[in-house]
Assembly symmetry: C2
Homo-oligomer: 470 residues x 2
């Protein structure tokens, strides 16, 4: 799928002068080889790849300040790069420019155990962070699946399986440091757990996909590792039953830590890939966190709700090896989909609706797939009303691709018509700009455009993302 790209590239002479200035200042930290550039402009979806003109590996915040200053002087775009796992073309360089890869800015700077917070560089990945924290009894709860960098997670407003209990990245960042267009650094907050001191700049930069400045430091919230973790699984006759059980669990205040829906087709894929024999009907996978007693009570209470909603056998376990076995299917969901049709492209997309509409939205989506003769297993962070389609398409088959695009459009319109959003956690990037006006109206987009203009008047920060062309 190509995305309309009206952005002019930087003039070759101007670009050469900027790269020359950068090379003089940074030497080997600036790389212009084709392989490295292509690696930084690749997308994991069917969006066209658009490599940057150079890739820069900052070692500290002052490097970022200097690269931004030099690029701003020449009006060369800068694109922040974490681990490249974003799904809507966020790291593409449609106007060229310099990709800033935070690979080496991966230090945990401070851990404040009493305050349950830590200060980190943006290149720290969530697995590395939790590894670092392991002996402290603390953990960082946001898990989008991929081992993304925290800077990238903040920039795309990521969330994942734990959000139903611990919130998204939005609820777990206390403060940021952000390099602005003249290279100076904006501090957006303090380590206080809450504040009403002025405009909420922290949340403005979260989800801005690097279009308003470059994050060079994050202060994030941590949690105590729960005393006990239990996992559970329950099959349902219908998506509606699984959703109803979820609604009742949340209404009655059962603090589920994860509650994931796999539709029948996803269960089939997992059975085949992971050599399991789960009933090939909708499945809920759950996790409970708390004391041994709390976890037992939560599991028991959920079991009763599941039974009321037509759930089948409900089993729960606190043994780590059994938990792992239960969740393995979920973790391997993507690979199970890939294995269904080797060689086909898999396009991951997500929408999010009010939970009362989730069953309808998933069921209508399944019907649409049948009608369009397309295959797309569905997994959902069902506690949040958020679900993912993994659409399989042969990218060489233009007729199938056309049906795929139609499916995507209809999926987004369906979610929006139910009071939902075109993306719960993947972001807008390039792929979903066309849906923003339909979701929020022109006035919201004008406000976003005015903010972009105010904070990035030169349009050097990740141009061509989020805000649709005029």
């Amino acid at each position: 799928m190509t995305v309309a790209n009206h952005l002019p590239r930087v003039e070759p002479k101007v670009l050469a002068a900027a790269l020359e200035a950068l090379a003089v200042r940074f030497g080997n930290l600036l790389v212009t080889s084709r392989a490295v550039r292509e690696h930084h402009g690749h997308t994991t979806t069917w969006l066209q790849s658009q490599p940057p003109d150079a890739v820069f590996f900052p070692q500290e915040a002052s490097d970022v300040q200097d690269v931004v200053r030099i690029c701003a002087r020449h009006r060369v775009p800068v694109i922040a790069y974490g681990t490249g796992t974003s799904l809507e073309g966020q790291i593409n360089a449609p106007a060229g420019g310099v990709s800033i890869d935070f690979r080496d800015m991966n230090k945990v700077l401070q851990v404040h155990a009493d305050d349950l917070d830590c200060v980190i560089q943006p290149g720290v990945t969530r697995k590395a962070l939790n590894e670092h924290l392991r002996d402290s009894g603390l953990f960082f709860p946001i898990d989008p699946g991929a081992d993304a960098s925290l800077g990238g997670m903040a920039s795309t407003r990521a969330s994942g399986t734990n959000a139903v209990r611990y919130g998204t990245i939005r609820e777990n960042v206390l403060a940021l440091k952000v390099v602005r267009g003249d290279g100076e650094i904006i501090t957006t907050g303090t380590r206080a757990k809450k504040s009403s001191a002025g405009y909420d700049l922290t949340h403005l930069f979260i989800g801005a996909e690097g279009t308003l400045g470059i994050i060079t430091e994050l202060t994030i919230r941590l949690r105590g590792i729960p005393e006990t973790i239990a996992a559970a699984a329950c099959s349902f006759d219908s998506v509606a039953g699984a959703c109803q059980a979820t609604i009742l669990a949340i209404q009655t205040g059962i603090p589920v830590a994860r509650i994931e829906l796999l539709n029948a087709e996803q269960v089939r894929a997992c059975n085949s890939y992971s050599k399991l024999s789960l009933p090939e009907t909708p499945l809920l996978l759950l996790e409970f966190h708390g004391s041994a007693n709390e976890v037992a009570e939560q599991s028991k209470n959920f079991g009763e709700i599941a039974r009321e909603c037509g759930g089948g056998d409900f089993t729960w376990t606190t043994r780590p090896e059994d938990r792992t076995r239960l969740w393995q299917a979920r973790h391997d969901a993507y690979w199970a989909v890939k294995a269904l049709r080797p060689g086909a492209g898999v396009v991951a997309t997500d929408v999010c609706v009010p939970i009362s509409r989730l069953a309808d939205c998933v069921t209508d989506t399944e019907d649409d797939l049948k009608r369009l003769k397309l295959q797309s297993p569905i997994v959902g962070h069902v506690g949040d009303g958020n679900f993912h389609c993994s659409l399989m398409c042969d990218v060489e088959d233009s007729e199938e691709m056309a049906r795929g695009e139609e499916f995507m459009h209809r999926l987004v319109e369906r979610a929006q018509s139910m009071g939902g959003t075109c993306t719960g956690e993947h972001g807008i990037g390039q792929g979903k700009q066309k849906y923003l006006v339909g979701e929020l109206g022109g006035e919201a987009i004008e406000a976003m455009r005015a903010i972009k203009q105010a904070l990035d008047p030169q349009n050097i920060f990740n141009p061509g993302k989020i805000i649709p062309p005029l």
Copy 2:
């Protein structure tokens, strides 16, 4: 205390023309009587009152759109007014203009029980909302003490005693409708529980104190009323012991719903006012929400932690009348302070620090009060590191007032030097503008100023608030 006010008033002729146009359009809904104007420019603190030129009572969103259009045409300021309980001069009219009182826009428009959300007009107060919800088994958890309007709570980024468990208003608003300067309405989000669709306009307007637009509708999150509520109290030898118990409770994941600190002087005031006989040492008041078993376990676990930290007798109860008796002292804390020195002004202020520094911050503040010969009981939302001073001053005594101002300055500087913020929940308004640069640096203020200029180029929305004069 006066606040520097460099804002020019609207020219009398221009003002007269605007008021004439408003009167023609709205008749009796526009009020210019002195008593009503003074009521809308009063402050609950020692900040000088600055009444508006007129007060307008909109009946629906289109009234707000029209009043903004007319005022914008004449460049007359508009100031949103909820219940007038803000504490930093947020509703003052330093440049004159029209106060928009949302008293009559107090309807709960939709309740979505399955989704745990509702859509309301901004004049709904939190008590009226919970009254409306009572039979649904749901409640809105944010409780700043005053029976504030939800529009006002969103605008000042309010929180209160329940924030440690349920978050602040920031975590509990899903979407807003906001009238912008040309009278059109910006929609900031959907009813989806999470979204990564573009810039987070919702959080930009939350805490903006009406300086970027006027909120005309809110979609907010609700919770299930807990099956069981338990209350508990525990006295400590020292503030440090009470804070340490709080830190351990949070680290070990006890989901306290409220955890409030009263310092010895506040307990003395409450004993005297409420005829209690609490030990006159630092006191923690707690509330636990959950199933009967969960609440019992949480209480028991907290009791053990309290004992380790030098806590005295720890009692907990789930009987409503006993719970009320325990919390009565906290609810009456303000009146207890007023009674300590009848006739004196009581100035409420708040700061928020990382919880590891809370004991130091409170203790140093107590020492400072002694040194300055001032009296100010302290209550704290200790789970968040947020505490309030209720400074008593004779507003006619300029020497005492000078000491009071010195105390306030030192309190803010102390909190900021400990990595905290000049306000955890009261906002900036007029009173705390001078502290913003010290807290976040000039770059953050420049970003705020650029956003204000971008979204309100005429500076008609609550001018003179939040952003310090250049």
